[in-house]
Amino acid sequence: MHLVLFFIFGGLCVAGALNLLFQRHPINSALSLIVVMSSLAVLYLLLGAEFLAAAQVIVYSGAIMVLFTFVIMLLNAGREERTHGSKAAYAIGIPGAAALFAALTYIFLSNGTHLSSASLGEYLVTTDALSRVLFRDLLLPFEVTSVLILVAVLGAVALARKEN
């Protein structure tokens, strides 16, 4: 069951990511990224991270990607054209990414024997346990990120407003 779910949603992730790579229109790329993120939420659930799965859907698929589609629609971004930069990027990009993938996969698979395996319902981090760590041991980093968000909001307003 776990394996089947993993392959369905892992496959959806990879298909979405490849679609992001090959689509030339940003809105199609954005939609395939939403598919990737939502399937990742299901994988988080399989790994027993229920709060993160919900946060993934609410924050990534529901807020960040809405902002992306909003900006794509606002700027009326069309299909991207091929320019002189494209050829060099293809020449470096595809082999580089393939080499990176080969290296990572080799490391993971050769050391995979030291890692255990996951089965459904074996390990679950409840929201309670997560928040205990977050608000007791890591209170300072949490507060610092809130300041970061405040700065980001102010920065976004300052950057996007029209200069008169």
């Binding site: 954005a30 946060a55 700027l75 990009g93 760590v133």
Partner: protein, 100 residues
């Protein structure tokens, strides 16, 4: 039963596709989206390791990555709007001057 290494390989696949998209894409919004894809790939490996060692801190990491990604998206998209306003293009090859 799914070995944790499968999850790690999936995360490697997603990360590599993100790197390739980052290098190949010419539209600045698409480039930004491939960064988000790479962040997501790394998040998956964090959650997988959290499951491996039964440690909550792996998931806390993902939580912080999400927060930072949200902040980054807000600022990044504001920068993209500012660029489009001054250059009226989204192609990174045409945004190569330091001054307006």
């Amino acid at each position: 039963m799914v070995p944790i290494s499968y999850y790690l390989v999936l995360s490697a696949i997603l990360f590599s596709i993100g790197v390739a998209a980052f290098l190949i894409k010419r539209n600045i919004i698409s480039i930004f989206m491939s960064i988000e894809l790479m962040l997501n790939a790394v998040n998956l490996s964090f959650v997988a390791f959290a499951h491996q060692w039964h440690q909550v801190s792996g998931q806390i990491f993902v939580f912080f990555v999400m927060v930072v990604a949200a902040a980054e998206a807000a600022v990044g998209l504001a920068i993209i709007i500012a660029i489009f306003r001054s250059r009226s293009t989204l192609n990174v090859d045409q945004v190569d001057l330091m001054k307006l």
